[in-house]
Amino acid sequence: MIIDRLTSLVLRLRLPILLLTLVIAGFCAMGLPKISMTTDYRVVFSEDYPQLVAFDKMQETFGQRDNIMIVLAPEDGNVFTARTLDAIEQLTRAAWRTPFSRRVDSLTNFQDTYADGDDLIVRALAEDAAGMSAEQIAEMRQIALNEPLLVNRIVSKQGHVAAINITMNLPPNDTSGQAEAVTYIRAMIAELETNSPWISTYLTGEIMMGQTFKEASDLDIATLFPIMFILILLIAAIFLRSLWAIVAVTLVIVLSTISAMGLSGHLHIEHSLITGSAAVVILTLAVADSVHFLVTMFQELRQGADKRQAIIESMRINIEPIFLTSVTTGIGFLALNFSESPPFRSLGNVVAIGVFFAFFFSVISMPALLSYLPIKPGKSAQLGGQLMDRFADFAIKRRNELIVAFVLICVFTAHGLTLNQFNDAFTKFFGKQLVFRQHTDFVEANLTGVMMIHHTIDSGAADGIFEVDYLADLDKLVHWYEAQPGVMHVESYSDIMRRLNRTIHNGSELHYRTPEDPNLAAQYHLLYELSLPYGLDVNHLVDINRQATRITVTMAGVESNVIVAADLNARAFAKANLPGLTIEEGVGPSVMLGHMGKANGKSMISGAVLAVSSISIVIMLVLRNFKLGMLSILPNIAPGIIGFGLWGMFNGRLSFAAVPALVIAFGIVVDNTVHFLSKYLRARRVNKDEVDAAIHYSYHRVGTALGVNSTILICGFLVLLFSATKINQFIGLMTALSLMISLAITYLILPPILMLLDSSSDTDTDAEPEAEAEAKQKQINGPPPLPESNY
């Protein structure tokens, strides 16, 4: 047999193989330093993602919008005190020196306008705040808390917290610049907290979020790996009970993981928050492969075989199922290449590479290594042989009830499926253990939102933004938006125009409206523009042609569904009611993410179809049986349907990781079906068993092994629940859940289905002639070698 020859070859060439393994792993490991972790949230979107293209177009006109927001909360609950204003003023000055900063907005440098005779005075709201009198501060408070550009954005309504907003201008794909800026800001904050201990500070904004991508994955590495290794030791202790076996398993899984990660560095696969789970997944799959091999080998050793025989026997039994499950799992992960979101493509490719290494190292390198080790089997850990028989009896006896129950559960949970909705929020990516999440939650609760919709509002002609209708309609749009749920603040040029008009009319509230003469508006604009100091121009709100302005709607406490709906409704409202302007599609990270769930789902559909069909074809080829191949689709996709149905009933919030998680789970659960069906067919063909006897045989042969294998995988994926990010938690939870469901289906539902559909006459006619011939040949030559093992 080819496999026996392969094993002999492996054992004969064990030294070269081990050396080659080390060389390969060493070469791959050299790629590890090349792995760069992106801290740019934009990595979630592909370059040609329509909403990203629109966002970039807006930013080309009005400048980048990514920001760092520092929120200051004085313990006395009032930012309008000389000492706190002084601290804000100093921090504002220091903030201008932030690397890659473009603009700094704060309570103190806000450019207030007022009239003094025929002079138009434009000046910072607070200057030399330390020396401001109580009356001056009271006056400033009065102005600030009535200024729409400030309230709920730079200062809270009740004046208890204030923000310094730093707009950044980072070169594209420059992660070091971002880190540099954050380092500078943190040093600045540390100094503030020493000098002004009564102020608590909170940091949020896109730049901090990007930085948290990296911090979250660093935290994941620090927490998930220790848990994973404890788990591996536990698994090894329970199933292997041999120190040398633990050494061998550890070596194999570490080498697999290092090789896969290192090779991904050589191949310049982009790593991000989402690929952070790759290492844990590879470790899990590699443990499953190597434990398989060792469990069989130990069984052989206990039955008196010598080490060489045991290795050969374990190879013979395991190489095909390990190869098969590697292929199906690999297909599942490679299908992630259809994802709209590049990090999932990276995740799929890295894990697929890892699956390959795990296979190679488990069946080639590990036998070579084991042959050197003074390995002895531990005490027998015989689990549940009788239990399996009882399962088989139960499943056969209660087959009708089981099928009815299964159908009911499917229908019930399919209803749950419809309760799922795509709904995302960048801030909710992160667990509450992350500082960014805590700070952002504080900012949302006390000051303003972090989710924004930016609109370009076009007038249709150069200088058109000064037209009476345009400004009036812009004002109406702002009011409409302010009335929408979740809207905290609307930043609009019309508020500047209203204020200027009032100032020029000596502060008369009657003129707190948009000007009614376009020439006048344009000239106010020029006057205001000429009066603004360094860096505080209006170019971030107005384009160079004076044809369009930007409005930014800030929302808090909402998720992407509300944001996407607000954008759609705003456009419908403007189209119907505001002829003076054209509103462009809302853009921004939250809007992009809002569309991502659906876009990713759509793009993954072809990937999912391809994965399901190619895995089914693989199963048909291996089983050499079309009917059972088709039949296998049901138990393979049912776990995903039931799992997501349960999710819909208990949570129902699908992130854009949902469909990728479904495909990953599918690629992994098929193992169960494949193993069970292959043993079943073997019994039917080779032993000419009746259906129920064949089911008993299958239970006996693979029942325990499936339980062991699934337990390892379930535990491994459950480790992801300790991740600091919701995406990894979700992938872990859904895969583990699907595996549990799949195990139950394999034990309880697959046998009744086989009994229902696989009448004895069919199997014989369906079986391919070659299989028949092979079976007959074996019968002539004597009884077929029925391995006394897990598989």
Binding site: Q59, D119, S531, N539, D543
Partner: protein, 270 residues
């Protein structure tokens, strides 16, 4: 030998040789830098007044363009009549919504400049508050600070070295603005040695990173003395925006007086 040394001509030569290092050391980099700008100033003395037409072409990152057209008139200060800085009048011609809007600046050596803007739509003159000259000028990449006539005392200087720029032998000088409201921490200026014209300026923003590069070309000489540029290109290095300025129709010595630059004169400006 002693005789030879005490020989008067030889003695003289020896003392000259000994003094050379002293002479070189006598002028520090700071002094040399300042001297270059004093020479620029000296060569431009007594132009009296001049005017020109200016067209600005603004471009944003996506390549969108926008135009501003204005007339610029300068009255020389610091002479026997006006013991102060230059006076400038800018009248906007385009875009048409701001046609006739006029900006007067009185530069002062010791205090903030005075600025007034006449708004024809309002029929009134508005005074503009002081600290604004570092802000963007009409949405362009130029700030008023970049365009305004420069005084030697506006900066401290440091001569960096000689460099060839645009095939011309140039001095490279670092200058640091004195005004705390300036948008810049430092500038590097390239001045050609033959005619003392500014060829290139690199501007460093408040976080001390390069923000803009100005290159000045198409210089022409007027009245056989005064060089004026025909083309200025300002490119923002941080956000991909740029502004070109084309200056034409230079006219010198029209006999303008302070009255032409008074607040009252603004209403007449069209």
């Amino acid at each position: 030998m002693r005789n030879n040394l005490s020989n008067p001509p030889f003695h003289f030569l020896a003392s000259i040789l000994l003094m050379i290092p002293l002479l070189v050391q006598a002028e520090t980099a700071e002094q040399k830098g300042r001297a270059i700008f004093e020479e620029i100033d000296r060569r431009d003395l007594n132009f009296g007044d001049f005017s020109s037409d200016q067209e600005m072409i603004l471009r944003n990152k996506s390549g969108q363009e926008s135009r501003r057209i204005m007339e610029n008139t300068v009255l020389e200060g610091g002479n026997k009549d006006i013991n102060d800085g230059d006076k400038t009048l800018i009248i906007f011609r385009e875009p048409k919504r701001i046609r006739g809007t006029a900006l007067i600046t009185h530069a002062h050596q010791q205090r903030d400049d005075d600025q007034w803007l006449y708004l024809p739509a309002l029929g009134r003159v508005k005074r503009i508050s002081g600290a604004s000259k570092a802000g963007s000028f009409v949405g362009s990449e130029f700030s008023y600070e970049d365009l305004a006539p420069q005084e030697v005392d506006d900066y401290t200087y440091e001569y960096i070295g000689d460099e060839i720029f645009a095939e011309q032998d140039c001095f490279k000088v670092k200058r640091v603005p004195v005004d705390k409201d300036s948008g810049y921490t430092q500038q590097f200026v390239w001045v050609d040695k033959s005619e003392y014209r500014i060829q290139k300026v690199e501007f460093y923003d408040r976080k001390a990173t390069l923000i803009k590069i100005l290159t000045i070309t198409s210089y022409q000489q007027y009245l056989d003395q005064y060089w004026r540029p025909g083309y200025l290109s300002m490119i923002n290095q941080q956000d991909g925006k740029s502004t070109d300025m084309i200056a034409t129709n230079y006219v010198f010595r029209q006999g303008l007086t302070e009255a032409d630059f008074s607040e009252n004169s603004l209403r007449r400006a069209r």
